[in-house]
Symmetry: C2
């Protein structure tokens, strides 16, 4: 992870893509969200989703998996260049999560994260607080998933 | 699921409890959130969490699993009493998700859901819209997880 000083407003990270196969959708649903329209093609077609639909929590966890992989990849690259790598703090939560359109079997969702606000914490001035708009977009360019994540990012210069 | 007319403001459902074992925490993290403090006791102790901590997404999906199980159980009971069972609509999203305290290995979290607002949809008057405050509380009575879910619930009397 990068330091607070190195993050710029409006900066956008491309996190990668994931194709939700019917098998993935059903496996996640059996574990965590066993509703009919996530478990059976026929039930999905007969639901408001119009097809076998991924659980919204499945979409959210795939975002998380891609975010972690992208962060670990850029950490390794920074370390290989001899740069110091920041260690992020926990996330206190997020805001305005929206499942905008169904994610159906076969859809490929591309995820991105864009920094919307950054400020230094008043109570813990060695930490910055960023808000990032995270989005998922399907293969037709339609937004399907969006939320505003809040995260703690360490300052490089802690005496600032 | 129950019909819009049968839901009352302030009504609270107890969804049940789940104990997050170290094995559960690591298995979820390997699948979806492979950060060090979710994968190793030692890394967890050395982090701000102070111990092996469950991914926030793991806490959210366990809530979902208990919600679905409780809904399916009450649907079966209602059907056994000969009552008509409502079929819910998709959730458009939620608001103000907060991971308030870490969930550490061995913690038992009890989840509940309380109806905070209910209204009839203006654009789709055969549906009601409810907002429910969902909470997770640990074995010491401390709130660890909270969010405001939004859901569509069908009206029993669609000509209303």
């Amino acid at each position: 992870m990068r330091f607070f000083e190195d993050l710029t407003l409006g900066e956008r990270r491309e996190l990668g893509s994931f194709t939700f196969t019917a098998e993935d959708i059903k496996r996640f649903a059996r574990q965590f969200d066993p509703q009919r329209f996530h478990l059976s093609e026929e039930e999905g077609r007969n639901s408001l989703f119009g097809g076998l639909a991924a659980s919204g929590w499945h979409v959210a966890t795939v975002y998380m998996k891609l975010l972690v992989a992208d962060t670990q990849r850029s950490d390794r690259e920074a370390a290989a260049r001899g740069e110091e790598v920041a260690v992020g703090g926990p996330s206190p939560g997020f805001r305005k999560l929206r499942w905008i359109k169904p994610v159906l079997a076969g859809d490929t969702i591309t995820f991105s994260s864009e920094i919307e606000t950054k400020r230094i914490s008043e109570s813990r001035p060695e930490w910055g607080i960023i808000q990032a708009r995270n989005r998922g977009t399907n293969q037709r360019g339609e937004a399907v998933f969006s939320f505003l994540a809040i995260g703690f990012v360490p300052l490089r210069n802690k005496s600032a």
